[in-house]
Amino acid sequence: MNKLKIRNRLAKDKALLWVVCLLAAFTAVPLFAILGEVFLRGYDQLSFSFFTEPTPTAYKAMKAIEAGEPIPGGIANGIVGTMLMLGMAAVAAIPIGILCGAFLAENSKNRFAQTVSYLTDLLQGTPSVIIGIVVYIWVVVPMKGYSAIAGSVALFIMMLPLIIRSTEETLKILPASLKEAGLALGGNRARVMLKVQLPAAFGGIFTGVLLAISRVIGETAPLMFTALGCSFIRFAIDKPISAVPLLIWEFFNDPNLQELIWGASLFLLLFVLTLNITAKYLAKKWNQ
């Protein structure tokens, strides 16, 4: 009787282990399914011209399909737009985010800092589509038109909390002795932050920036109401502009352009995952 009961309990124990392993392994399936599908359907579209030419018009694409030729053109307009907006957003978000993070790390006890900390969480949790609406109200309406500026403001707002948090967390885990040693040598707090703490935290902050970029680069919804999209390559910051995820959305909605979806998605996916893996690798390396 007792033996039977023990056997029963051991069987249950083993069953749980198997169920956990099985279900955990199954969780990896979507990743490979998605990677596989995007890669298999997209890799033959990747060519030199795919990166150097703008999107074709629907008419041109239709002609090409009728003639049985591959659709001409590429996603250069999207790449340029993404880089331009991301660049502008990063130039503002990196210094501001780092300073905010430094503020939070230096004043963790005071009330204003706690408010800022809560607001950072609030902003980080705000759905990106809402950031899109707000930037539309802030920028697009007063400027009477969609623009690269508006798009970069949206990306800036989404990057900001991510950079603030990673800076704050990295600074907080630095040994206190580092700061004290700096201060003991007669440096003032600004100098110690700039010359001692921030350089020591560089790895963590850099990783945070990479992750922030990879997080916002695929954002679509907020750009739909701000950057809108544009079918040719352009560098103007006060005019509508395209972005890679916007192009994917366009291709998805235009039956004539559907063939281009996968090349653009593959490019975006590779870019994002490379950033992710690099960030993780660097984080690990710097931690040692």
């Binding site: 009961k5 023990i6 309990r9 051991l10």
Partner: protein, 255 residues
């Protein structure tokens, strides 16, 4: 006089954490029933490792190997089912750790709950009262049985953990430096308690504290670098150690 099987017997017991190094080397010893046996030695000598082997705690960690034999009532536990052995061998750890999500009452009965054994309400009440009485905690907590065990003082928590182990009616109770995290008054309480408990259960205790070993144990083991150097009557060992290393340790020249 007829010979009785010792309750616990180590027979060339070895424990190794890695292939190269052995933490416990060929220990052989027999433990008397209803006695308190102390295991002493400097830190890292393998005393806790030896103790944990009796409860098959090492089975939880795949890299650790236990060789030789450990006989419980003549049966080699190394070839038995761990969950079966652990029910018969209670263990009290260095730091008191009652289950924080359970009440005092449930903590005492946690062994049954964990093993999926159902008891009737009267059985439960009796077990709780009996066990808490045998650890002299009943009077202090009988009105707060439904409160969480974590609100108790360190000494009370440790007594609760002893009660938890006793509730399973073990043949033998292992104690791994049970008082090292406690203050002197709580320590004295627990030592007094152990004297009482040995009537019910055999106790094997690892201790860092020579005074404690002298006060409570009838027999002592002295371990050094994984070896059992000396094993015998506590009084004899303290007054007249047969090995130089034991002598050095007891006179404070080592560890």
């Amino acid at each position: 006089m007829e010979s009785v099987t010792p309750i616990l017997e180590f027979n060339k017991t070895c424990v190794s954490y890695t292939k190269q190094t052995m933490a416990v080397k060929y220990v052989s010893a027999a433990i008397d029933r209803n006695s308190i046996t102390a295991i002493m030695g400097p830190s890292g000598c393998g005393k806790s490792t030896l103790l944990r082997a009796v409860n098959l705690m090492h089975n939880l960690y795949p890299n650790i190997r236990v060789d030789g034999e450990i006989l419980l009532n003549g049966e080699n536990i190394l070839s038995m089912e761990p969950i079966d052995v652990r029910r018969r061998v209670g263990m009290v750890f260095q730091r008191p750790a009652p289950f924080p999500t359970m009440s005092i009452y449930d903590n005492v009965l946690s062994g049954y709950a964990l093993n999926g054994v159902r008891l009737s309400k009267t059985e439960k009440d009796e077990t709780v009262e009996h066990c808490l009485k045998s650890v002299a905690l009943w009077d202090e907590v009988k009105d707060v049985l439904n409160k969480k065990g974590t609100f108790l003082s360190g000494g009370q928590q440790q007594r609760l953990c002893i009660a938890r182990a006793l509730a399973m009616k073990p043949d033998i109770l292992l104690m791994d430096e049970p008082t090292s995290a406690l203050d002197p008054i709580a320590t004295a309480h627990i030592e007094e308690l152990m004297q009482e408990l040995q009537k019910e259960v055999t106790i094997l205790i690892v201790t860092h504290n020579m005074g404690q070993a002298m006060r409570i144990s009838s027999k002592s083991m002295f371990m050094y670098l994984g070896e059992l150097v000396e094993y015998g009557d506590t009084a004899t060992m303290f007054s007249n150690p047969s090995d130089e290393r034991t002598k050095a340790y007891l006179t404070g020249k080592m560890g």
